[in-house]
């Protein structure tokens, strides 16, 4: 019994170690030649541009429902003019990064795992190795870099779509003029405090998180994809594991980043 537990624990630690070695290599290869620029651009298109529609949609509808729900609650206090502040604060600090992260984990993380997984089971990864290319350099590094760049970009777009969605609801249902709504949005950003005089703390929250999430999604996807065994069934397993692991990690890590940032960046 104890022995079996021991074995299982060893395997877990070993796979965690492999994950960190992969991460280290993937990031290290970003700073040495040869660098596969074509693959980076292709992946930025795949991860960023092609995720744009779903991110715009989720952002817009989340903003709308936020405005709608808070209008009901705030009306009881006669404070509907604060809807803009509420929507801005929650979109920029929390919902924007987390929702964009989860959407990208579902769309891109699964795609990465499935693609690398099928390359593994059809010996294409071995073929890369035999043709004298490090598969991590060729496949993982471009995906990680692309995610590190594109997930924050998508988050900014997501935030904006959400705040815009809120403004539409405010104008249509709640009767708050658009100009007032946007003024309260900027008030909220200013009220969050500044670091280095001009950089709003809200932006630090809102950009650091998706940067980390991008790394999590791409590395988890690549890790499970490259470790795929057992034919096409294995590819399915790798895909599911990626989405589950990345989503959970995003939510857990989000909490800890918030804790740390709140400690270091007081409003």
């Amino acid at each position: 019994m104890l022995e079996r537990f021991n074995e299982a624990a060893k395997r877990q630690v070993h796979s965690l170690q492999e994950f960190f070695v992969l991460s280290g290599k993937a990031i290290g290869f970003a700073f040495s030649r040869p660098f596969y620029r074509g693959d980076l651009i292709q992946q930025m298109d795949e991860i960023g541009v092609k995720s744009l529609p779903i991110v715009l949609l989720t952002g817009f509808f989340t903003g709308m429902v936020l405005a709608l729900q808070s209008s009901v609650q705030l009306k009881t206090f006669g404070a509907t003019m604060y809807i803009g502040r509420l929507v801005a604060a929650s979109m920029i600090r929390e919902l924007g990064p987390v929702l964009a992260g989860l959407m990208v984990a579902g769309r891109v993380g699964s795609g990465i795992a499935a693609q690398l997984g099928s390359m593994r089971v059809t010996e294409q990864i071995d073929a890369l190795n035999t043709l004298g290319t490090d598969p991590i350099r060729k496949l993982v590094t471009p995906r990680v870099l692309a995610a590190l760049i594109m997930v924050p970009t998508l988050t900014v777009i997501n935030d904006f779509a959400g705040i815009l969605g809120g403004s539409v609801i405010c104008a249509a249902y709640v009767g708050i003029p658009t100009s007032l709504y946007w003024r309260t949005v900027f008030e909220q950003i200013a009220a969050g405090g500044f670091i280095f005089k001009y950089l709003p703390n809200d932006f630090i929250h809102g950009l650091l998180k998706p940067f980390v999430f991008g790394g999590i999604i791409s590395l988890v996807g690549c890790n499970f994809g490259l470790k795929t065994t057992g034919g096409t069934e294995g590819v399915g397993i790798a895909t599911t594991r990626t989405v589950v692991t990345a989503s959970i990690l995003i939510l857990v890590v989000d909490y800890f980043i918030t804790q740390v940032l709140l400690a270091f960046l007081p409003s």
Binding site: P34, M119, T122, E123, Q124, D126, A127, L128, N129, T130, L131, G132, T133, D134
Partner: protein, 309 residues
């Protein structure tokens, strides 16, 4: 008669039910002209019983017997349980070694050892005189450039066109410009009897199994390697395509003088193309010698293994 409960003549019924199934005389055949031309050539060659390349190569190999291009010395390897126990063999320049054996005896593992995708637990592997088991990752990548590998399922990159696939090793490791690369890719595709103009821009998923394998060979030899490794080059192919591929491997030896290791359980093609055969059994090499020696052997296992041949 389970499929025909009404008791009519089954063939007639079926014909009436599916009139589209009958092939009209003008319907284009799925196989390309190119394929047919090659197949005809192979059929002719088999029919007239043309001498296989092996005699000439054996002569060459004897003449320049000094240089061992590939050598495995007392190699042991185990994953969860032992896979290889004290395996040794070598290949002289220009030789073709067929590694035969039942499925699951670690034949493909030997190729992975030669490519240093795996490192043996004990023993040495020499490629072109260099001991490769102790090399670091970057040096191993360099050694691999001396070798062209043809995978069982061809392992073409399915996100790239045929051209990009064959050009891949050239782009990675040479300073050739675009025109030179295109010329080289065309030359290699010509060599494997594919029409470059027709297939350069196709994706691997558009090709038949035999064509994919030939593109795989073209990619393996794009860099003009000294050594070619083949993993089950003829498995899962019909007899004519098998002959085509066997013919290609022989052509590669004959015209380019590469040293080859062919992992196969297709004894017929192993006899045609190899200078020596290594038979793996019980994690060991139980026979290593020429096809003639193998045919003449009284060993019980070898006789069983040769079975119907």
């Amino acid at each position: 008669m389970t499929d025909n409960p009404e008791g009519g003549r089954p063939s007639d019924d079926r014909r009436q039910a599916n009139p589209e199934d009958q092939v009209a005389p003008n319907t284009p055949i799925r196989r390309g002209d190119d394929d047919l031309r090659v197949r005809a050539a192979i059929r002719n060659e088999l029919a007239i019983d043309a001498p296989t390349a092996t005699q000439e190569i054996r002569a060459v190999a004897k003449r320049e017997a000094a240089h061992k291009v590939i050598a495995l010395e007392h190699v042991y390897l185990a994953f969860d349980e032992p896979v290889l126990n004290d395996v040794s063999f070598d290949a002289l320049e220009g030789e073709t070694i067929a590694v035969a054996g039942e499925s699951g005896t670690g034949k493909s593992t030997i190729l992975k050892l030669l490519l240093r995708l795996l490192v043996p637990d004990k023993g040495q592997v020499y490629i072109d005189g260099e001991e490769i088991t102790k090399l670091n990752f970057a040096d191993a990548l360099k050694v691999r450039q001396k070798m062209g590998m043809v995978f069982q399922g061809a392992a073409l990159f399915d996100s790239m066109t045929v051209f990009e696939n064959v050009a891949y090793p050239l782009r990675e490791h040479t300073k050739l410009n675009d025109d030179e690369i295109e010329a080289r890719v065309r030359e290699k595709l010509d060599f494997v009897d594919l029409d470059p103009d027709k297939i350069l821009e196709q994706l691997p998923s558009d090709l038949s199994g035999g064509m994919r394998k030939r593109v795989g060979i073209a990619r393996g030899m794009a860099n003009n390697p000294k050594i070619m490794l083949y993993d089950e080059p003829t498995s899962g192919l019909d007899p004519l395509t098998t002959a085509t591929i066997t013919h290609l491997i022989i052509k590669l030896q004959k015209e380019l003088g590469v040293t080859s290791v062919v992992v196969t359980h297709d004894i017929r093609s192993a006899f045609r193309m190899s200078t020596k055969i290594a038979v793996l059994n019980e994690k060991k090499i139980c026979f290593f010698g020429t096809p003639e020696e193998m045919a003449a052997s009284d060993d019980r296992y070898l006789r069983d293994f040769l079975g119907g041949y």
